[in-house]
């Protein structure tokens, strides 16, 4: 396949940046999108040019590092996959593909397509610990948890924190991410002890980082590689106001 790539290039956070157009040829339809970028970068290195910087680690859809906004959609045209799981057969020969970084003030651009997503880490940190006794491993079925609740908690826990939700949201809101992280613990008995402070602190941190508010457009869930559901955002709203109105934190 022969493709034209319009890629966002930006030297550093303070650089204005702009699009560069590149042509790549002989791309195999079986390559992943990142492998196609590897080909582009080898080409750039051969030409003595600076390769395009992009984030990646596992290349199998579990780390959440890869973050490309491809043709108007985080992680590209397919649903429920990350950029590293996207194959070139999803495109046509001769296509022009526009690749941009995640756009959000709390995700400042480090270089090209690489953004600093440590604001997510600070939200997780604000959530704090859960009280679990150390010592021997507890019996598997000691605490009864209905299968449905366990499934819901597990679904929320599949969030890999890639930030596609923020990237797709017209307000750059982190509600889907925060709601998944709050839900995975709020649903389970182990998460009950610190439940109120956790949601209060995580929401406060989310607002402090400068993410936008939620307009319930649903774009976040639509692009989420793990298909985190909007019911988590409803739960976050419930948990937050229940905590705010009943916790001892004045």
């Amino acid at each position: 396949m022969n493709l034209t790539l319009k890629v966002w290039r930006q030297k550093n956070a303070s650089d204005k940046g702009g699009f560069e157009t590149y042509n790549v040829s002989d791309i195999s339809p079986d390559m992943s999108f990142l492998e196609m970028f590897d080909v582009l970068n080898e080409q750039l290195v051969r030409e003595g040019k600076d390769p395009v910087h992009f984030d990646h680690d596992c290349r199998e859809g579990i780390c959440g590092m890869c973050s490309m906004y491809i043709n108007g959609k985080p992680h590209g045209p397919k649903d429920a996959i990350t950029t590293c799981q996207l194959h070139m057969r999803s495109f046509n020969d001769g296509d022009t593909i526009t690749v941009e970084p995640w756009r959000a003030a709390p995700f400042p651009i480090i270089k090209d397509l690489v953004t600093d997503r440590s604001s997510f880490d600070r939200i997780i940190q604000a959530g704090g610990y859960i009280s679990v006794n150390t010592g021997g491993v507890p019996d598997a079925n000691e605490i009864p948890i209905p299968k449905k609740v366990a499934d819901e908690a597990m679904d929320a826990a599949t969030c890999i924190g890639c930030g596609a939700c923020v990237a797709a949201c017209k307000n750059a809101s982190a509600m889907l991410f925060v709601s998944a992280k709050v839900s995975q613990l709020a649903l389970l008995p182990q998460g009950q002890v610190e439940k109120k402070s956790r949601v209060e602190n995580m929401v406060a941190q989310m607002d402090d980082e400068g993410f936008g508010a939620c307009t319930n457009t649903g774009a976040c869930s639509a692009v989420c590689p793990k298909e985190i559901s909007l019911t988590n955002i409803a739960r976050l709203n419930r948990e937050y106001f229940a905590a705010k109105s009943s916790s001892d934190n004045v």
């Binding site: 319009k6 003030a105 017209k170 989310m206 936008g212 709203n237 106001f241």
Partner: protein
């Protein structure tokens, strides 16, 4: 008290204010429509005028009307605060805009602004006239607001503004109605389909009936 202020000024709290005021306005729309449909009664406005006289003089209605103005103001002020926050969260936009949501949900601010312009025209035309203008009194001791409405709706451009504005309102409600429940945390496999259905029906039927009034009166003028 700081916890209360914290809660209401957080991004989630401000959304709850949007949803509460929005739902109140939705309730108001339903009541307002039921009153206005009396314009179509074909009695030269007698029943409508008596109703309008009652609505402007009854003390309880006066309190509700002040509340209504306050809620509209709160809805608008909160939307401006949220909008500024949201714009600041994405200072540099995309070259290719994202389209993974409904058009209405992405344009609530623009739709709301158009509704505001309509509200100003609407209040100037009828509310202000009734309150401070010189409206003639009928022989049954009520101001003849019907005559004012009839005169306004005999002009095509005026009717056009109303019809277009109701389409704008329909889009605002098509997202707003169900969004308010999600903001309250009400998302449930049993109730969400009902909320979505009622919201869609409300967003179509209520603005359509509102738009029908000027069209009907124009055709009969």
């Amino acid at each position: 008290m700081s916890w209360l202020i914290d809660s209401l000024t957080s991004s989630l709290g401000r959304k709850v204010l949007m949803a509460l005021t929005g739902l109140f306005l939705i309730l108001f729309l339903a009541v307002h429509l039921s009153g206005n449909l009396q314009l179509l009664k074909g009695d030269e406005g007698r029943q409508f005028n008596i109703y309008a006289e009652f609505m402007t003089s009854n003390p309880l209605i006066k309190v509700i009307s002040i509340g209504n103005f306050f809620f509209i103001l709160l809805h608008i002020v909160t939307s401006v605060i949220l909008n500024r926050r949201n714009k600041k969260a994405r200072p540099v936009g995309y070259a290719v805009s994202p389209t993974q949501s409904t058009w209405a949900s992405r344009n609530m601010g623009v739709l709301g602004f158009l509704i505001l312009i309509f509200l100003i025209i609407h209040l100037k035309g009828f509310w202000y006239e009734m309150k401070f203008g010189s409206v003639e009194t009928t022989d049954y001791d009520a101001k003849d607001l019907y005559a004012v409405v009839k005169a306004a709706y005999s002009q095509l451009w005026y009717v056009a503004i109303y019809v277009v504005s109701m389409a704008v309102l329909a889009f605002h409600l098509s997202h707003g109605f169900q969004s308010a429940f999600q903001t309250f945390g009400l998302n449930h496999i049993k109730y969400s389909p009902i909320i979505k259905f009622v919201g869609a029906a409300f967003a179509i039927v209520v603005p359509a009936l509102f738009a029908l009034i000027p069209i009907w009166m124009f055709l009969n003028s």
